[in-house]
């Protein structure tokens, strides 16, 4: 099955993501009491090898951490992937008002807290626009407990290209650098397109 998105549909995804991000940024700003620089999501069709490279980076170098979380709702399934630069940890701790020491355990704690908030806010925003309710699985920290190569190898057989929404988060005055990737499965894209066509009409 090949993934196809028309220009109109793509614009629509862009618009939905923009609105969702606006809402998410507003929520984050209120919860964390900071100014979130409103990110412009990028809508892309990415290939498995692109993802493999991003994940391999998280696996081999020690300066990136990643969290992934599955979501599913009304036949639309996918995974949210949050990739952090480890240099962000001290500022993340400030942001989340975390006071413990920043050892492995402290970083895990931060990763989980931040990813719950960032992924949750964004998924909820998109779900509301499309009138979908997503169930979310438990987050999994990649590169610390999984052999990423194994994960991606298995994934390679299931899809070659898929729809990705990329969001780069930045927070004013803090050195926080993280990317949120929402990846939809190939068969979900057809259903998403239907949903979007409904909005377009």
């Amino acid at each position: 099955m090949s993934v196809q998105v028309t220009e109109d549909q793509r614009d629509c995804y862009q618009e939905i993501s923009n609105v969702a991000m606006g809402q998410a940024a507003d929520k984050l700003a209120r919860l964390l009491d900071v100014y979130v620089i409103l990110p412009i999501p990028k809508i892309n069709i990415i290939s498995a090898s692109d993802l493999h490279m991003a994940l391999a980076g998280a696996n081999t170098s020690d300066n990136v951490s990643a969290v992934c979380q599955g979501f599913i709702g009304s036949g639309i399934a996918g995974e949210a992937l949050l990739i952090f630069n480890d240099a962000s940890f001290t500022d993340l701790a400030k942001l989340m008002k975390y006071e413990g020491s920043l050892d492995y355990h402290g970083e895990l704690e931060l990763l989980m807290d931040v990813s719950s908030v960032l992924i949750g806010a964004c998924l909820q925003g998109i779900g509301e626009q499309l009138e979908l309710h997503f169930n979310q699985g438990h987050p999994v920290v990649l590169g610390q407990h999984c052999q990423i190569d194994d994960l991606v190898k298995a994934g390679n057989h299931q899809w070659s290209k898929t729809l990705a929404i990329e969001i780069h988060y930045e927070i004013e005055n803090l050195n926080i650098d993280c990317d949120l990737l929402l990846l939809f499965t190939e068969d979900s894209v057809a259903k998403l397109n239907e949903q979007v066509d409904y909005l377009l009409d």
Partner: protein, 339 residues
């Protein structure tokens, strides 16, 4: 199906299921007072719903750190999003016994939790539901894997009196894979536990294969003076160098730890000049990296494998000659093997 569409009997069934399902459900109000408590919670905690109803969670379960839990729960109230905790963060939220008290190895139940918002009629969130999943089996398997894989250095935040030491994987449980499963043994025999680089066997195999169809350059690196230091310090030095090499090399390069402090990197398709630059970069970077306050150096030997030549053993011995030359001429140097 909407709530109003549920017939009375269906509602009754649903209640029965929620009461009996093997997942813990707790509903809390804004002041963290327990409002509802299903059968799972009742049976595992030994507290009846009427014993906990309207009592603050942190009073009934004093070992739940209030600040920690509130940090997870506040976004649920404020943002109406879900939050999650996993057993790697804290092994459990509620300290329950292992569901398999006879054959299970863990002392307590490992738990993942989801915290979900419950909207009131006016759309605000005044209550949250904490859902408790029993993940003991997963946690125990994961910890076994971690012991062997050694890449995991998690310190479980468990009260010390009930933590059997083997439950806490640490960096100390490194190379020995005594109680491993088959998968794990396989992994452990190809990857060096301390450095996550290839082991000697694996490295040689990959090199021989790569030499058959591509050219490249081999770099051998040795740490100059690790003998004067104690074992922990040596491990730190070796890990640091391995980290530098992992960061500097590309995905396709073949990087291995061949002996105690002897590392080898085959740079695929790289000419001698590139390889010398690579080695110099690693050497100078390492020389300025303080490890526990001390500075150390490495020496490197480089040899190039020309296109069409697949003599990997010759290549190795050339690189070794270059390395010995660098070590014999004052160390902290890179030498290129010249034919």
């Amino acid at each position: 199906m909407s709530k109003s569409g549920l017939e009375f009997t269906e509602m009754h069934w649903l209640m029965d299921v929620l009461q009996n399902i093997d997942i813990g459900l707790v509903i809390l109000d804004r002041d963290y007072k327990i409002q509802l408590w299903n059968g799972f919670m009742e049976n595992h905690s030994g507290l009846r719903p009427d014993q906990v109803h309207d009592k603050p969670l942190f009073d009934s379960f004093s070992n739940i750190p209030a600040d920690w839990f509130k940090q997870k729960a506040e976004p649920v109230f404020e943002l109406k999003t879900r939050t999650f905790t996993i057993w790697e963060q804290r092994p459990y939220l509620f300290k329950f016994k292992n569901y398999r008290p006879i054959t299970g190895r863990a002392e307590h139940m490992y738990q993942n939790t989801s915290i979900i918002p419950l909207e009131s009629i006016d759309g605000s969130v005044k209550h949250i539901c904490v859902i408790i999943y029993d993940v003991t089996d997963i946690a125990v398997k994961q910890q076994d894997l971690a012991k062997v894989n050694s890449s995991v250095a998690i310190s479980l935040d468990t009260p010390s009196e009930d933590t059997p030491s083997e439950d806490t994987p640490s960096e100390d449980t490194l190379s020995e894979n005594t109680d491993s499963t088959d998968d794990v043994t396989n992994l452990a025999s190809t990857t060096d536990a301390l450095t996550k680089l290839m082991t000697t066997d694996q490295w040689q195999k990959n090199l021989a294969e790569e030499c058959n169809h591509s050219s490249g350059s081999l770099i051998l690196i040795e740490i100059d003076q690790p003998e004067d230091t104690d074992v922990d310090q040596q491990d730190d030095i070796i890990s640091k160098l391995a980290l530098l090499l992992r960061r500097a090399s590309r995905q396709l390069d073949i990087v291995g730890r061949l002996q105690h402090n002897h590392f080898a990197i085959f740079l695929v398709d790289a000419q001698a000049k590139t390889a010398v630059n690579f080695a110099e970069r690693v050497r100078s970077k390492f020389a300025e990296t303080a490890i526990n306050g001390d500075l150390f150096t490495v020496s490197a030997g480089v040899a190039e494998l020309k296109q069409g030549n697949n003599d990997h053993l010759g290549l190795y011995s050339n690189a070794e000659k270059a390395l010995r030359h660098a070590q014999g001429n004052g160390k902290n140097k890179t030498t290129l093997y010249q034919t």
